[in-house]
Symmetry: C2
Amino acid sequence: MTATTQGPVATTTRLQRLSLNTATTKYWTLQQAIDGALRAGIPALGVWRDRVAEVGTQRAAQMIRDAGLRVSSLCRGGFLTAADPVEQRAAVADNRAAISEAATLGTDSLIMVIGGLPDGDRDIAGARQRVADRIADLVPYAREHGVRLVLEPLHPMYCADRAVLSTLGQALDLAAPHPADTVGVVVDTFHVWWDPALAEQIARAGREDRLAAYQVCDWNLPIAADALLSRGMMGDGHIDFDAIGGWVRDAGYTGDIEVEIFNADIWATDGDQVLATMAQRYVDLVLPTAEHNIHQKGG
Amino acid sequence: MTATTQGPVATTTRLQRLSLNTATTKYWTLQQAIDGALRAGIPALGVWRDRVAEVGTQRAAQMIRDAGLRVSSLCRGGFLTAADPVEQRAAVADNRAAISEAATLGTDSLIMVIGGLPDGDRDIAGARQRVADRIADLVPYAREHGVRLVLEPLHPMYCADRAVLSTLGQALDLAAPHPADTVGVVVDTFHVWWDPALAEQIARAGREDRLAAYQVCDWNLPIAADALLSRGMMGDGHIDFDAIGGWVRDAGYTGDIEVEIFNADIWATDGDQVLATMAQRYVDLVLPTAEHNIHQKGG
């Protein structure tokens, strides 16, 4: 069975590019996420490693394949800023494991959250250089496995603790020394919507064949007490999905569009209801510019 | 009496560029801030309009002058993103009033927090264009009064609600159509420390004669429940003041260095103790690169 024969939206192909990132339904097991996606007519999953680990990679791959779903990405590799050589080797080993998992799962996209400043370390330039060095360490292994390291610029409010990579332009600079099919970038609306250089850098990502993934959610205010949980459902916040979606479309991106929301209220809501809202908001707010692209291509 | 004859650090000139922004001692009246600065040997104040309003601009100017203190800046003008013509006219009128106040207070720096998205408005490009238009409206009046509009890029986490101006590069682009002595920029470490283009854009600000002010405080984690109150005392967070101070020095900036901290714990601490800590951290963490500059100039 395939996703397009399931659920209330099965009679349309409107959801054909929509992917459920498993973080959006945090409390669902992988099996529950698969079943929920099928019920909602969502044909792809962005999977987090913890949900893969709970059943094992081979079994996870089999479950998703048997359900007729795609894996749009594996979340996540990264955390490459360690200054200590032992920690650096551990980070490289862990990222190699993630690359292998991605290959087994049948996705070529490993999302990379590259890490913040080590404890007590204020040398941001040094941390960024170590990231560049670790990416270089990982590229041959990724290339062998047909997996792309997808660099994720995170919102600058996470610069100290999650990612010293803050803009799409910076991600493209970091990717530049490596083959485009081995190191790409992701546009996550929450992280980059504010960037005055966003239109220009999305266009550049297209020209340089680096645009590997598109993740959507909204920027809600106030910022949540746990800042990581500030991501909102599309339409609930301040992001102009028409504008950003148009730039992503014009950059030639035709891949999956993942909805990845960390939000305590959404996590407390019934999963099927979350997926129904998510599919509707996707169709209303995100798809229009993507659809326009398909029509343009056909025309 | 002058600041350099007062307080425990009176025997040195180490604090000659230090300025107390009145927001750091939020609960002090203007008179209390003046007296506190004198006791601490701090020779300048960055004053907020509410503290000026409580005594009237002429009287505030007289009080500060009589105390032998300088005014390093007036905080703040801005909030220029309104789409409604009536609100736009009100914003221009209010900013003209702020320009007059700055002139009366004897400072040529009016710090501009340029405003977030209007309620329900997601068109960030439109909001940015309106800011450019309002700046153009204000430039002749500022020029007549010898006051510089000092554009402040705010941290991207305030993009929706406080300032659609997020990077120093963007601020310099916004300033570019206008005379350098009428539109400048401020480097506030809290807002820009994460920016991968910071070194390059500070150097550009120097080349273009736009670097009008330098404000320091630290980036603390976790982000405060009220995100505006996340600013920390220098040394308590993640910012490398040596690096940024060196770039500011190399850009030729020799003006006042304001400490502006919004932080509930600091506001709850005895003001004299806050100023003593602030002066010590300034000497230990901020001044070394500035001092180096003075030596270089002498040598």
